[in-house]
């Protein structure tokens, strides 16, 4: 599994340590080395470490008469009783639970199909399926919005030709969510397919040949050989897609503006409005830290699963 075991990982090849060890003992950071690290360190401290810390402080503060004062857990308590935050959290989780499995299943099926010996023009198909992934994020949201918006939209006219519709894609709470899921799936399926293709190509073909000789059907071989061997890759795509879905903003901002009736309001869209429309910085910071917490938990779960797999 060359894909998940990075070639260099955490261990340093001996050459970098032992190279010229007679003349160079383990050094203190010299001025030269600091110069190489300095730009990254300065940028990190000013634009990452400071904002992350400041945001944490802000989440425990509130503005009274234009001045920031300590508010304890007030902002976090507000989150629990805020129906809009509940809505945003629920929407994000709903989109995530539907969209991620849907997209990854399609991506996996496409990847397996494109490795099948029956299929011709593999490179052509791969290119076509990957093209959406290089479309600018905002561009595809705009295209989907114009394709779906209104009774006489192209999507509705195409549906009418087979006697369906019209559907109020962006104006109905249910269909607005469907539109959002469809758009995101269109954009990212090919991307994940490429990852699966790489994972599949790293599976030793002799394993599958042996299974075929033992009389396993294609579906049996897929379920009991391909899927388990692909597990680390699948886990990786699940994690990145989940974290991506949790940070959804552009698509719902352009496609539906979070509407109708908040049915496509996402955590980050609500955070954006709270911070930059209502100028409620403390509350927005508390929201951001809830997001950090969720993402961290997912990252830890991923690491746990990978570790138990290694122990087996």
């Amino acid at each position: 599994m060359t894909l998940t075991k990075s070639p260099v990982g955490t261990s340093t090849p001996p050459s970098s340590r032992s190279g010229g060890s007679s003349s160079h003992r383990k050094r203190r950071p010299s001025r030269r080395q600091l110069i190489f690290l300095a730009p990254a360190l300065v940028l990190f401290l000013v634009f990452q470490a400071y904002p992350i810390a400041r945001s944490l402080l802000l989440s425990f503060q509130t503005r009274v008469d234009g001045k920031l004062v300590w508010a304890g857990l007030h902002q976090y308590e507000r989150l629990f009783s805020d129906p809009n935050f509940g809505l945003a959290l629920g929407n994000t989780l709903l989109i995530l639970v539907v969209q991620v499995p849907l997209m990854l299943s399609i991506a996996l099926i496409l990847a397996v199909a494109l490795r099948s010996t029956y299929v011709k023009l593999k490179t052509g198909f791969r290119l076509i399926y990957f093209l959406p992934a290089v479309t600018a994020l905002l561009a595809y949201a705009i295209v989907f919005r114009t394709l779906l918006n209104g009774d006489s939209s192209v999507a509705n006219q195409l549906l009418a030709s087979i006697g369906v519709g019209p559907i109020d894609w962006l104006g109905d709470p249910f269909w607005a969510r469907v539109s959002l899921v469809a758009a995101i799936t269109w954009r990212w399926t090919g991307y994940n397919m490429v990852i699966f293709l790489a994972g599949l190509s790293s599976i030793d073909p002799s394993v599958r040949e042996a299974a075929a000789m033992d009389g396993a059907s294609a579906i049996q071989a897929f379920r009991s050989i391909t899927l388990p061997l692909l597990r680390p890759v699948i886990l990786f795509t699940v994690t990145t897609s989940t974290i991506g879905a949790l940070q959804l903003f552009d698509e719902s901002y352009i496609l539906t503006g979070g509407g109708p009736a908040g049915s496509t309001l996402t955590i980050v869209l609500y955070l954006y409005r709270t911070a930059f429309k209502s100028l409620d910085f403390g509350y927005a910071s508390a929201m951001a830290y809830v997001l950090v917490l969720i993402v961290m938990v997912i990252a830890v779960i991923q690491m746990r699963i990978l570790r138990t797999k290694d122990d087996e």
Binding site: L3, T4, S6, S16, G19, G20, K26, R27, P29, S30, R32, Q33, F36, L37, A40, L41, L43, F44, V46, F47, Q48, Y50, P51, I52, S55, L110, A113, Y118, V119, K120, F125, L127, I128, L131, V134, T135, A136, L137, L138, A139, I142, V143, T146, L147, G150, S152, Q157, W186, G190, V194, I195, A198, L246, F249, Y253, V268, A275, F281, A288, L291
Partner: protein, 290 residues
């Protein structure tokens, strides 16, 4: 007798599998082609809509072939709006970001791979943790910082805050680890300084990885929307995505112009992809490696 019977059965069986193979191959191709059409249609339609007058976008039957309004749309887009300057801003921030963040990442990655010093492991841990923290948590303080520095509507406000790219540093470190330290020692004995070694020997040796990093950084900045939306408030300083987003919000949208602008804004990444396909794929897989 039994042998002959079984061989007849084999022949029949073979014919049946050949037929079913053909059938499943055909079915597979049909599914793949439908999928391909779904994949291509929005892009095709984006280009078509850019060549048609606004009224055609919702016409019945739908306008699915290129029209003749391309020049009219182009002139309204470039003469009637700030789009030209928005594209220039987009290109400027994407190029500046790619070069600057790339250099910062390469330098730090080099130090982390090739120098041993106290605190190196701690620094790596910090970088890995930073990769998992969602950037939205920094938005409010960063915005305050930009305001107090007076950087709103400046290129550096877009480029600098995300120039510390944890993934970029990590990726560069991994690339430099594979570079033999003996070469560095040899160059040092020949009297080359650290910068010369870095610039003349180490960087050229990892050129493929640099290309991948460059693509990732360029794509990141080109697609960036939320941050530019916050720090760019002057219409002529908008990036192309921010400009296009303002068109969407208008009551009377000129769809021909909007979709032509959208298609043009998609061109740079499309061209990069078609030219550097192989690097794109390794870039995605580099993400998988982390």
């Amino acid at each position: 007798m039994t042998n002959a019977a079984s061989s007849i059965r084999d022949v029949k069986h073979g014919r049946r599998t050949r037929v079913s193979r053909k059938a499943s191959s055909l079915a597979l191709h049909i599914v793949l082609i439908i999928g391909g059409l779904v994949s291509l249609f929005p892009l095709y339609w984006m280009v078509v809509a850019g060549t048609r007058p606004s009224s055609d976008i919702y016409s019945a039957p739908p306008a699915l072939t290129p029209g003749s309004a391309l020049l009219a749309n182009l002139s309204r887009l470039f003469d009637g709006t700030t789009f030209a300057s928005n594209m220039a801003v987009s290109v400027a921030v994407a190029v500046l970001y790619t070069v600057f963040a790339g250099l910062v990442s390469a330098m730090a990655g080099f130090a982390l791979a090739k120098y041993t010093f106290r605190g190196r492991q701690a620094l790596l841990t910090v970088i890995i943790i930073t990769m998992t923290i969602p950037f939205q948590v920094t938005l409010v303080p960063l915005f305050e910082l930009m305001t107090s520095l007076g950087w709103v509507n400046s290129l550096q406000a877009v480029v600098l805050p995300f120039s510390f790219n944890a993934f970029g540093i990590f990726f560069m470190r991994q690339s430099f680890l594979a570079f033999p330290s003996e070469l560095i020692e040899a160059a040092r004995i020949d009297g080359a300084g650290d910068f010369r070694i870095f610039y003349r020997i180490a960087l050229p040796a990892i050129r493929p990885a640099l290309a991948v990093l460059g693509l990732l950084l360029f794509m990141f900045q080109w697609n960036s929307f939320l941050w530019p939306l916050l720090v760019l408030t002057e219409p002529s300083m908008y990036t192309a995505p921010v400009f296009l987003a303002t068109l969407v919000g208008l009551g009377q949208t000129d769809y021909g112009v909007l979709l032509l602008g959208t298609a043009i804004a998609t061109l740079p990444t499309m061209i990069l992809f078609l030219v550097f396909q192989r690097h794109f794929v390794s870039g995605i897989l580099a993400g998988a490696i982390k």
